[in-house]
């Protein structure tokens, strides 16, 4: 089954491009470290998922590029085609000239309805190219105007037009000390709207990835390209083909559906975080060896202690003791800083993953009480190594890990809203104070739900 990617705004398009680059690079590479047959299987599954075979010498990405200004898409299309390894469909994009001015209301209430037909036609065309459509992967940032506002509108349209397909939104959480002054308003409006139409939100935080670039990748002058490459690697590590428990001897065919099934048991809890280890500069890879137990031990502690990378983990944090007489519904009994999970998914890529013991992730004390621990944890695997890493482990989790950033963004937005600053910029395009209040209410509800886990 295939995934259609919708790249929205500057961020969505820049990252989307790196993702296809990473996926293509991975498949082309001779570092599979597995049998030729395995490699071919992997490559075919990947191709079906992300690329269409058209009368073109190179694979064509299953993607729709949307932006309200032309420069980014024009660059993205030409760089991809220039690589010689893959390209975008020349017709599968839509731009305007004006941009959205970082204004969510402009993206959502003006550009959205105005260009709905054209954009949905492009999506429909891509969907029709798929033998079987697994769903949509939309890529956007929350801080700007197009990705956020138009992105929210398009997600709604996707839901209306494809009621049975899965929709996963990849959302970029902006740097805390601003890229855009009204980013907190835009974020609140985006998240509250996406929550209604999307199946799940997979979040990457710029601050976190920046730290990975600085401390793990040792990059001195970090550019957005560096940040995007790390994000692309992490996404590739999740969405490249794997075997699931139910897929038997074939690579699983429904990645989005499987993801939703394992991680989103309840519509109130849709925020997914992603961790991947190891991460290091390419030239260090040759000198490093990894063991699965070592990788998994770190990954588990990263989950529990809410660490976002493998350095600086707080090893003191421990899951609470189960079986004590205190009722488990009391959130205060959970030790401070412990990150409770609803569900987790571990993805292992590389040799000898068959023998890996994942029992530590099945520990019921990691989870809330309302899911059977058997159901709360799943694992996907493949012996085929990913992107030159001999062994690579990823963790996608539905847990409290995004509570703090969410609370922070809502708090700052509320603070600004109380002074009414910038509101006139939104009302100018049809988003009123009541719409803001609705969004705040919706998010306070989400915060409350995650808090009492």
């Amino acid at each position: 089954m295939s995934i259609v990617t919708v790249q929205l705004g500057q961020c969505g398009n820049q990252i989307g491009h790196e993702v296809f680059n990473a996926i293509c690079g991975d498949v082309r590479g001779a570092h599979g470290l597995c049998s030729k047959k395995e490699n071919e299987s992997y490559r075919d599954a990947c191709k079906e998922r992300f690329f269409s075979e058209e009368e073109s010498e190179v694979p064509v990405a299953r993607a729709v590029l949307v932006d309200m200004e032309p420069k980014v898409i024009s660059q993205t299309l030409s760089i991809a085609a220039g690589s010689g390894y893959w390209k975008y469909d020349d017709r599968s994009h839509f731009c305007q000239k004006q941009g959205s001015g970082n204004n969510w209301a402009n993206g959502y209430s003006v550009h959205g309805p105005r260009h709905k037909e054209v954009i949905m036609n492009l999506v429909q065309k891509e969907a029709e190219k798929c033998d079987r459509l697994s769903g949509f992967f939309t890529m956007m940032s929350m801080a700007g105007g197009t990705g956020s506002g138009l992105g929210a509108f398009v997600t709604q349209c996707l839901r209306d037009a494809f009621p049975t397909s899965f929709i996963l939104n990849h959302v970029i959480w902006p740097y805390g000390t601003g890229e855009v002054i009204v980013q907190n308003y835009n974020s609140v409006l985006t998240l509250s709207h996406l929550y209604q139409s999307s199946d799940a939100l997979l979040v990457h935080e710029n601050d976190v990835i920046h730290k990975i670039c600085a401390q793990l990748m040792n990059i001195k002058q970090i550019s957005f390209r560096d940040v995007n490459e790390v994000i692309a690697h992490q996404l590739g590590s999740v969405f490249q083909p794997t075997y699931t428990a139910g897929s038997g001897l074939h690579y699983s065919r429904n990645p989005l559906g499987d993801l939703m099934e394992t991680l989103v048991p309840h519509p109130e809890f849709k925020m997914l975080g992603l961790r991947n280890i190891p991460q290091m500069p390419e030239n260090s890879l040759a000198y490093s060896t990894f063991s699965w137990p070592g990788l998994l031990k770190h990954l588990r502690q990263m989950l529990i202690a809410n660490a976002k990378m493998e350095e600086g983990i707080d090893w003191q944090v421990r899951p609470p003791h189960l079986g004590s007489s205190i009722p488990s519904s009391h959130s205060t009994n959970k030790p401070l800083h412990f990150n409770t999970s609803i569900a987790n998914l571990v993805i292992l890529r590389g040799k000898d993953m068959h023998s890996v013991d994942l029992g530590s992730f099945r520990d019921p004390s990691l989870y809330t009480s309302w899911l059977n621990p058997r159901d709360a944890f799943n694992a996907w695997k493949t012996p085929r190594a990913f992107n030159k890493y001999e062994k690579s482990a990823s963790l996608v989790s539905n847990s409290k890990n995004l509570l703090k950033p969410l609370n922070s963004v809502v708090g700052k937005a509320w603070n600004m809203f109380a002074s009414k600053a910038y509101i006139h910029q939104y009302t100018k395009f049809g988003i009123e104070e009541e719409d803001f209040l609705d969004s705040f209410t919706a998010l306070e509800q989400v915060i409350s739900s995650y808090t009492i886990l």
Partner: protein
Amino acid sequence: KGIYDEALSSFFRNVDARNGGDRPDIYKGKICSLKARALLIDMEEGVVNEILQGPLRDVFDSKQLITDVSGSGNNWAVGHKLYGYRYRESIVEKLRKTAEHCDCLQCFFIIHSMGGGTGSGLGTFVLNLLEDEFPEVYRFVTSVYPSGEDDVITSPYNSVLAMKELNEHADCVLPIENESLFDIVNKIHQMVNSGKLGSTVKQNSLVTSSAGGVKTVQEKPFDAMNNIVANLLLNLTSSARFEGSLNMDLNEISMNLVPFPRLHYLVSSLTPLYTLADVNVPSRRLDQMFSDAFSRDHQLIQADPKHSLYLACALLVRGNVQVSDLRRNIERLKPSLHFVSWNQEGWKTGLCSVPPVGHSHSLLALANNTCVKPTFIELKDKFMKLYKKKAHLHHYLHIDGMEQSCFSEAISSLSDLIEEYNELDATKGGPRTDPSRLKIA
């Protein structure tokens, strides 16, 4: 001859100059003849004629001119009411023509001075017109405010009358003061002529230079100062014209820097003022560029943003500067700056890959900061000095359409604006109590 591309088309049309240029514009390919997307308006002919005889004569379309002979006599009422009425239709018609040649019109730049009669009076008349005829197009105004020792007696009247129009009809105003431009020119002069570093300063990197431009010789004393403003506008629009990893368009500037409709006065600063010939720029020098952007002597008006209150701040970097350089410097400089309580982390940033001619990188900082207040207060004081004595009032009042109420409304508008800044300043350094969050059932 070069290629006509998107970047050029933002400010120029490409026409086939044969046969009077009535053929359709050429959208792609080689440059044939560039025509500025501009209207030149002056009520006396001297300046415009000079331009039309100079090296830029082919760039300005003679059909895009509106001139008269006698000037406005440094009288806002003559410019606004008399000439406004007389030339309204002609201006609208030419604007429409120019707009029609645009694929997608995003913004008008109005460039004028506040102290005279034409720029101030007719200029603000045109501003009104633009709002009426093109309500959805942004209006950015670059206004040169009168300097301390300005010799036009009526400049306070003209400036205050114009301020009311700017308050009500501009989206963003970039105030400029000649004193600041002059100080910068002098500073560079000293740098270039001093013994130690003089020889290593790259001439074409001066912020006062018109390097890369058509004119090769700076003749007039104002040329150097005006080039600073030209570079300001170039940097402001760079991200809209060239690619970068984090684009910042003009409508984003308006969106992020104007929290309340009337508080749209932005203090600008440009760095570096010059580059040394040494091409390798260690990050320390890059950091110096960021520090300079906040220093008093790099601002284009007489103001000190560091000691006043920031409502919002934008940093547009050009050249080989990456997001980590931006973050590092924001973190470093933040503690020494005062931001309003509801916008503690209020930064808008942009990264454009293409640096200005002669530089490897540059920075434009735009601040919505209460440090504009002294400029306005001074304007008000000078106005009141004249107004109390009714000095020169008759020159204005005898113009058709001009009444005493125009004056009282104008000064009232300015007073209200000053009061808004006062209220914000009063919150500076005060205790911060965040509003309590929504409680859900």
